[in-house]
């Protein structure tokens, strides 16, 4: 009987399984869902203004030859409030920031600006997550580097931390060339 031989196969499979488990345990679990639109041109869209404070946002605004930072956020999202100082810092560094407010009411948004500031030149209202689906965004906040031709160059998932600022600025510079 080939009992010994096939038991060795089972042992090998078990060892492979343990290896896989150990590998997955040894590194932090990455729960983000990255967009597969990075490297592709942003599809055509036209969002109305989210508040009276800024004009709305359309794909034409992102293809004017100048790169942009496109921030996907919402007033009801806690990390979006926590990243406000970093966005202000980016704005001081001269980064052209545009925003998309996801599932948001104009009043809530106005109050949010009052409390945390408004670094955006344009903010479009994405009432039913339509733009999120177009660019493969899976949550808030996310920030995208879009070059002058409307090509998505980079996606940053989660809040912008102070240490992320230089990276975003250099990617923005890279998108210029």
């Amino acid at each position: 009987m080939s009992g010994v031989r096939w038991s060795l196969w089972v042992l090998a499979a078990f060892a492979a399984l343990l290896g896989l488990f150990a590998l997955q345990l040894s590194r932090p679990k990455d729960d983000t869902v990255p967009s597969t639109m990075v490297g592709k041109t942003i599809p055509a869209f036209d969002l109305p203004a989210a508040t009276a404070q800024n004009p709305g946002l359309s794909s034409a605004d992102l293809t004017n030859g100048q790169p942009h930072l496109l921030n996907v956020f919402a007033s009801w999202c806690v990390p979006c409030a926590a990243e406000a100082p970093q966005l202000a810092e980016l704005q001081r560094e001269g980064a052209p920031l545009v925003g998309v407010a996801v599932r948001d009411q104009a009043d809530d948004l106005a109050a949010f600006y009052q409390q945390y500031g408004d670094p955006f030149s344009r903010v479009g209202a994405d009432k039913v997550s339509q733009l999120q689906f177009l660019i493969g965004s899976s949550g808030v906040p996310e920030i995208y580097v879009v070059d002058g031709h409307g090509v998505i160059r980079h996606q940053h998932i989660g809040m912008v931390r102070p240490e992320d600022i230089p990276d975003l600025l250099s990617r923005l510079k890279g998108a210029r060339g």
């Binding site: 869902v33 967009s35 597969t36 009801w76 996801v102 599932r103 009411q105 339509q130 999120q132 689906f133």
Partner: protein, 133 residues
């Protein structure tokens, strides 16, 4: 300490963050045409809710899942085929969004292994059973 606060914020956010917007038009409303609705439901049951932990968008109260249901019902009503919509979403979120794996460079073992198992099962059964009493 600050990273810890940030982490708590980031982790706690999904539980606290709830927008006040009403759901998208077709998030909780079916299509009038039962055949189209059946198509939409067949598709929604096999798409992953991105903001949940392992649920399909058909079984989730997350607002983004609701928005996606609405988007899908509208596209189906406009005559798009379910598989076309699936491809469109895979083009944006990768294969992760679909619970229905396709045969690709990364997923072929999912389909080869069952065939091997079938062969192995037949082989083991045949060998066991051939040795007659």
């Amino acid at each position: 300490m600050r990273w810890f606060v940030a982490l708590v914020l980031a982790v706690a956010a999904p539980a606290i963050a709830q927008d006040t917007m009403p759901p998208a038009p077709y998030a909780y409303q079916q299509l009038a045409n039962p055949q189209l609705e059946a198509k939409a439901e067949g598709l929604m049951g096999t798409l992953r809710c991105l903001t949940c932990q392992g649920q399909s968008i058909a079984d989730s109260d997350a607002s983004m899942a609701g928005d996606m249901r609405s988007e899908i019902r509208q596209r189906i009503a406009a005559g798009e085929s379910p598989e076309h919509i699936r491809q469109w979403l895979i083009g944006r979120y990768g294969e992760y969004i679909s619970y229905k794996p396709q045969v690709t460079r990364t997923t072929w073992p999912l389909f080869v292994v069952p065939v091997l198992l079938l062969l192995l099962a037949v082989l083991i059964a045949a060998r066991r059973l051939r040795r007659r009493a």
